[in-house]
């Protein structure tokens, strides 16, 4: 375990704490907190919220629910679409002092190809994360639920870019390790997990969320994340970005201990925009080497 500089599928990071996709909007945060967000950016890489080929408004409200030690969201990937993102957001994100990872999702290999090519063409982008919880429009199978579909998608995308491709795995399968192995076989450079667990909060006899169902995240899923990261680490040799309920340095260390190379902080940032900074400091405290060498850096 190291809390110091880390290399993640070829990207050099100052430390192993990044953000989870969809849980930190650096542009909006700058509206709320000003330039401090750029000056004191708590993550060693910035992962964008997932973008899709066309703009999406997202799901109808309510989109949030609170569970014991957890939350459920059904945001529905609102985004400006690839063009809007690349023309408006990406230039603004280039101000950040860290490498940019762009998360993308599409509903067919063709659409995915277009996205990967467009995003990959931009120098500001260090790597691309593929959010594959989408149905294959031909087979009808959910790509990220099937090792073979995931492998086939990666085989189609791999030749299109020299940039690292990170596959974001869904936790809602019997064997995430098999899907990860499919991703590796298809040429992925890394995998990231876990995404949220499918959940359906009820209120007064009806589903609460506008979309009916959503995804569970936060401390409640932490032990599930450790299981899945551990299983995936045993099955692949590409690096892993581990996440799920990380709230402290020791939680981050646990994920590194089961085989993650970097750790992403998601829900914890909602409670405190600087949660990741605290988590890194705590992680350094647990790592004697980093603790001694890094005192002046932060």
């Amino acid at each position: 375990m190291s809390a110091g500089p880390t290399s993640f599928c070829g990207i050099e990071l100052a430390h192993p704490i990044i953000n989870a996709s969809g849980t930190f909007d650096a542009i909006a945060a700058r509206r709320a907190f000003g330039d401090a967000v750029v000056e004191r950016f708590p993550f060693s890489a910035y992962v964008s919220k997932t973008i899709t080929p066309a703009p999406r408004a997202g799901n109808p409200p309510p989109r949030l629910w609170e569970e014991p030690a957890a939350m459920v969201n059904s945001i529905g990937l609102p985004n400006k679409g690839a063009e809007g993102f690349l023309s408006t957001d990406l230039p603004a994100l280039a101000d950040l002092p860290v490498p940019l990872i762009v998360s993308v999702m599409a509903t067919s290999a063709e659409e995915f190809s277009g996205l990967v090519e467009a995003v990959s063409a931009r120098d500001e982008v260090a790597a691309i994360e593929l959010n594959v919880s989408c149905p294959n429009v031909h087979s009808g199978l959910i790509v990220g639920e099937q090792p073979s579909e995931t492998e086939a998608l990666l085989e189609a995308l791999r030749p299109l870019t020299a940039k690292p491709l990170i596959v974001k795995l869904t936790p809602n399968v019997a064997a995430p390790a098999s899907v990860a192995a499919g991703a590796e076989a298809g040429g992925a450079d890394a995998v990231s997990l876990i995404n949220t667990l499918k959940a359906r909060p009820m209120f007064a006899g009806k589903p609460w969320l506008g979309a009916g169902s959503g995804g569970l995240s936060g401390p409640a899923v932490r032990a599930v994340a450790l299981q899945q990261v551990s299983d995936v680490a045993a099955a692949v040799s590409i690096p892993i970005a581990g996440m799920g309920g990380v709230e402290s340095g020791s939680h981050a260390r646990d994920l590194l201990d089961v085989g993650a190379e970097v750790v992403a902080v998601g829900t914890a940032s909602f409670r405190d925009p600087l949660a990741a900074e605290r988590i890194l400091i705590e992680l350094r405290g647990l790592d004697p080497v980093a603790a001694s060498s890094a005192t002046s850096e932060l």
């Binding site: 409200p61 309510p62 014991p68 925009p273």
Partner: protein
Amino acid sequence: MAASAQGETGADGRVLAPLGRRRSAVVANSPSGGYTLLTALDPDGPLPKAGQFYMLAAEHGWGGGGGRPFLPRAFSVADATAGETGVRLTFVLEDVGPGTHELAGLAEGDGLLLTGPLGRPFSPPRDVNPGAAGAILVGGGIGLAPLALLRRDLAARGFPERSLLGFRDEAHSGGLELFRCSELRLASEDGHAGHRGYVTDLLAVMLEGDDAAATAVVYACGPPAMLEAVRALCEECGVAAELALESPMACGYGACFGCAMPLRGGGYMRLCVDGPVVDAGAIETALVEGAGHR
């Protein structure tokens, strides 16, 4: 890193928040009618603007017996004064669930974790209506909170203002001490105070004059049904209005996209960064599933 009490301001006049969550200490917490007035001393924060809000959590015990509250909760700032030792922030809250219950139980000296001020504040009256000659503040229930600070600001700037506050019943009322020097009219559904009926009845009377559209500006906050009545009334009378809306929020600073508010003409805004104060014309209805208390 502490921001000065003046505070940096962003594009739409909002005061920027210091980055990160910080600790403030409760200096007073007392019932006011059916509500609770919670005052904390924020040593490092700036002076907020009326209409802005803070994400609050108790330093200890957040998590409760059942694991909730887990997320922080949003509260409009109802009063704020800068002093030598920091900014005194007052919130008005109604104990309706696990989060407000924990906050209502805090004692002097207890830690209150806060992020803020957040969101878009109320606009100056002449930005809303260039001919504005007087502001009408319309509050429903706990919605009086942001109007209290707005009223104080308008009064301090010598801008004519009148406040109309409505309550369901005596158990669901309080916080009137924050309106002490205001021209104030009350309505209550049970008739325990002022006009028996809705606060929008009072507003309707007030907007009857011919020049309302040219000279009035309405600022409103309250439950969705009341805000919708205000919105419809102002639209009908052609009166400019700003509404302070609510929505479930996880982060308060644009990170989660959870606080979606439907826009007139389609799509959503994020209420925490594009609101909570919105131009009444920006929305088609204030009645949104999950918005507001009850």
